[in-house]
């Protein structure tokens, strides 16, 4: 665009430059202030996040459809090649599972009989809603997904999200129609679990890698690779007995598990509604927004391995 004659801009330039510098510094300061406010769990910042999420999630939902279609198509082409081998494998597996089903039926009957004998109080059945995953948090620092269910559908903070394979994470932000699920691999995720075989309680803590760590095991715990890890239900937020993952690596006392969830094909999750909104609310300061361990978590989470 041509400049107007009698150039006003030559006069305005230094002033504008000064102003733009000031504006720039203000914006940087504002961004830092936001970060600190967010860290201090100010309710307003949380609300702002949820509002932005609710407003933009429909856009993401629409945009994710074509991406999903392309992914599905690629997967189909890939799957075609393995169809024959897969079929053979499934036949064998089916035979094996039939035998398992037989065993399970027998155990179920036995279990029922024994429970009747001991007056066992059964846990209540859980309600759930299913939702589609429309976005996975990009970036190197956060592991979370956005799902298409919110307050309107009965989602509350702390609901456990599970896929067909196992535990995916817990709800940390609830919008009107959309929510954010913090994955169990995220840095801020801490979940009370037990080792299925030995019943050793522990805490599963994410560190943004694909394999979260098992910490706070009892001194004498005998964990070996291949052990299954399930939720313990301690803290009363997640229901007990959800499959989480399998111990795959023990190096220098650091025990890592591989979650059962197939992160690349995470399309739908179920949100289990325990009714107990046990997650610590943002109002109570000094506690990370996502904590199913309550008051002690922050101090304990920085301790060393037992």
């Amino acid at each position: 665009m041509a400049k107007r004659p009698g150039s006003f801009s030559s006069v305005a330039q230094p002033v504008r430059s000064l102003w733009s510098r000031f504006a720039f510094a203000t914006l940087i300061a504002a961004a830092f202030a936001l970060m600190l406010l967010g860290k201090a769990d100010v309710l307003m910042v949380e609300r702002a996040r949820v509002v932005v999420l609710d407003a933009l999630a429909p856009v993401i939902e629409v945009a994710s459809r074509p991406a999903e279609a392309v992914t599905d198509m690629l997967n189909n082409v890939r799957d075609l090649r393995y169809l024959r081998a897969e079929n053979a494998r499934l036949t064998v597996e089916n035979d094996r599972l039939d035998r398992w089903q037989h065993v399970a039926r027998r155990l179920e009957a036995e279990n029922r009989a024994l429970k009747a004998l001991t007056n066992f109080v059964p846990p209540r059945d859980l309600d759930f809603v299913s939702a589609r995953v429309i976005a996975d948090g990009g970036g190197a620092f956060v592991r979370s997904v956005v799902i298409t269910a919110g307050r309107r559908h009965g989602v509350t903070l702390g609901n456990a999200a599970v896929s067909g394979e196992g535990l995916v994470g817990g709800v940390v932000e609830v919008g009107e129609n959309y929510s954010r699920v913090l994955l169990i691999t995220d840095l801020n995720s801490q979940i009370p679990v037990v080792v299925e075989r030995t019943r050793d309680p522990a805490v599963l803590t994410g560190d943004n890698t694909r394999a979260p760590r098992l910490v706070y095991l009892p001194q004498n715990a005998q964990v070996v690779p291949g052990d299954r890890v399930i939720t313990s239900g301690h803290g009363g937020v997640f229901p007990p007995g959800l499959a989480v993952g399998m111990v795959t690596a023990i190096t220098d006392g650091v025990i890592r598990i591989t979650p059962f969830v197939d992160w690349e094909r995470l399309e739908y999750v179920r949100l289990l509604q325990t009714g107990a909104d046990g997650v610590v609310q943002p109002e109570s300061a000094h506690i990370p927004p996502f904590s199913v361990m309550g008051q002690e978590t922050e101090t304990r989470s920085r301790g060393v391995l037992p």
Binding site: L27, L56, S64, T71, V133, G137, A140, R143, N188
Partner: protein, 170 residues
């Protein structure tokens, strides 16, 4: 000199706001699920590429306030601490702007090299900030991968920017 008509002004306005609109779209795109193994962990920093490109070639169309808003938007979408991406983009913009004379009107290879050099301290800064906010040192590998994917992907994305620059923004 004729006063531009309303439609001409609208046309100009649309053209001139194209870069920022594009960056905002890229912010949304960076959270779309794609079934590539490990993709979510190392999504390239599309907005960083865009910010650098426009800071070098059309800084007049990239106001700091728009960058700030886009950064906040991306933070809210990805679940990062609000403000972290905003600061990163603003610093990237300022750094690129300060080196602009050395980058503009040079062969593309030099511009790319400029991005490789300038994005590095920005990535390190984001990593340090995130570590500070978490009160613990975060493993540097994801950040390193993201940095590499971002700078390596730059020519591909820049090719699109060049087209938009040439035919839409003008």
């Amino acid at each position: 000199m004729m006063r531009p008509t309303a439609s001409q002004r609208l046309d100009l306005w649309v053209r001139q706001s194209a870069p920022m609109a594009l960056t905002a779209v890229l912010a949304v795109l960076s959270v779309i699920t794609v079934g590539i193994p490990g993709y979510a962990a190392v999504v390239p920093g599309y907005t960083a590429m865009a910010t650098f490109y426009w800071a070098v070639f059309r800084p007049d169309l990239q106001p700091a306030s728009a960058l700030f808003l886009i950064g906040i938007l991306q933070d809210a979408l990805t679940g990062m601490p609000l403000g972290l991406t905003a600061v990163s983009l603003l610093l990237l913009h300022a750094l690129a702007l300060s080196q602009r004379p050395a980058l503009v009107t040079k062969p593309f290879l030099l511009t790319w090299l400029g991005f490789v050099v300038i994005q590095l301290p920005i990535s390190i800064f984001a990593w340090l900030m995130m570590s500070a906010l978490q009160f613990q040192v975060i493993g540097p590998e994801p950040v390193l991968f993201q940095y590499l994917v971002t700078v390596l992907g730059f020519p591909v994305v820049a090719w699109i920017f060049v087209r938009i620059h040439r035919y839409v923004v003008r």
